[in-house]
Symmetry: C2
Subunit: 209 residues, 2 copies
Amino acid sequence: MKVYVPFSPEDPKTRLSPVLTASERAAFGRAMLEDVVGAVEAVGHDPRVLATEPIAGPFETVVSTAPLSDAVNDVLTEHFDGTGGDGSEGVAVVMADLALATPEALERLFEPDADVTVAPGRRGGTNALVVRAPEFRVDYHGASFRDHRDIAERAGLEMKTVDSFRLATDIDEPADLIEVLLHGRGRSREYLTDVVELTEREGDVDVVR
Amino acid sequence: MKVYVPFSPEDPKTRLSPVLTASERAAFGRAMLEDVVGAVEAVGHDPRVLATEPIAGPFETVVSTAPLSDAVNDVLTEHFDGTGGDGSEGVAVVMADLALATPEALERLFEPDADVTVAPGRRGGTNALVVRAPEFRVDYHGASFRDHRDIAERAGLEMKTVDSFRLATDIDEPADLIEVLLHGRGRSREYLTDVVELTEREGDVDVVR
């Protein structure tokens, strides 16, 4: 299955600024991308970075300067046009900041034979999805999980969800780095352990430089 | 399997004060407890509320005024003393504020045949665990997931983890209510929908009264 991984290399992960410099955020964002792409490859699927500009590295890359939802919908259209509207193969979109993604977690995403399979992110996000129905389109703005559920329902499509902490954890804020340090297994954890560390104060866990 | 659900009825969930009154927090905490106990019963296990004081309702209750870790360790000691140190049956501890817990998610917790099975919570927490090794003891203070991993390792015990968004999501802060509204299926969601609602502003999702 083709698995598109949206990635924007320009000033990435600004909300991590309180703990990481601009160049550290770039390196860390890149490490997360490599972890996600590697996990997709490890389960035998075909990752393609859907990037806002050309990026260096051993990635198959598709460049689109369109906003995220439009770029993904273009990819869905092209995929299903290419299959003559046959949804049996499906196509997936997995966010590049899922630093905890493992092959096992991704297998649970790819497995269900539903029209649409979604791995919800926290705060209403959609962190990963598999589309097997040519008529489905995405809308990542706001509470996209709810929107995707509504879009599927209106189109009479079956939507399944994957209950995964690893896929629900996109890395946006300093507190999210706790999860990478504790549960990460790849390059992003390795990178991070050189720069920050866990602290505990009065039972509260946090991350400091 | 006996499944202990720690619960403190006194001034519960204070960090929800920005959006819920004291009596609403009490009612909501109670609704979450009922959802967790119901989900445990639905998978055929034997829930017991481990309460800091007697509570009303159709619950089998064990009262302990000891701090959480001590109360749970007393329960573990008693359980394994009662089985003559035989860990084959196991005993579980599931937090009362896992409002998203479903029978399916709990089945994945009870399933692995490991010495210790942990469902990690965010920020290093331990939201649920199953203990099949008489020598294991808990320490819920701070980054308890890491502590439990270390305790198991030092004792030569095998620890497995369950990758579940539903079990990772303990409801502590206002932002956590987003998850209950979007993904809850039980009484806690029902209660909450009468009091608060989701909002979106510039793509950010939040909860307001």
